[in-house]
Amino acid sequence: MRYGLLVEGAPYSSQAAHSALRFATALVARGHRLESVFFYHDGVYNAARLAAPPQDEPHLYDAWCSLHAEHGTQLQVCIAAALRRGLLDPREADRHGKSGHSVESPFELTGLGQLVDLGQAVDRLVTFAP
């Protein structure tokens, strides 16, 4: 089956990202395809490229990147939710006249329309909230 995940919890603050990653690994292992993880609400904070967790804790940012690298899962971040929270890719930083950026590939800022598309494209969309 084709799956999509909607992640709405900030990393480390709530278990949402941990649960989503665990579920993602399991569904791929069972032969399903994980098309995309869409990050919304505080879930957008998962895309913060500078995250530096203690070494004895899971590195959630790296885990998302591995998911993308190994399974081609898209990492889509709601742009409206991201901008107000300070998550800008180089293009948005430029557009807002700010130096530096906080989001980069494989995470991509995108509109809510992509969530709507994802909901139509997949067989199952599972939400992980804080």
Partner: protein, 96 residues
């Protein structure tokens, strides 16, 4: 069959009532994260109306040291079982 997923315990949040109110006769409820506190025998009364359709995630019970206190009426599943439940369901609805 719809799989409802609940991550808050009835000891502190009332969202479980809205989840139960929204469940059809064949629907299932999976307790995850702090939601697994509701699977303890001392808390299970909150889920009486859906006996036989209540599940809890083993990993979340285990990390909290609660596996031994989980009520016998609860079907404990690991994360593969979670995926299976989602396969068997027409869709999932998350309550938080």
């Amino acid at each position: 069959m719809i799989l409802h997923i609940l991550n808050r315990p009835p000891s502190s949040s009332l969202v479980y009532r809205d989840a139960l109110a929204a469940m059809g006769e064949d629907d299932r409820l999976l307790l995850i994260e702090d939601g697994v506190l509701g699977a303890l025998t001392a808390q299970i009364r909150h889920f009486q109306t859906i006996e036989g359709r209540l599940f809890a995630l083993r990993e979340d019970l285990g990390a909290r040291g609660l596996e031994g206190q989980c009520d016998a009426s609860v079907q404990v599943v690991d994360v593969d079982g979670f995926v299976t439940l989602s396969e068997e369901a027409d869709k999932t609805v998350s309550w938080f």
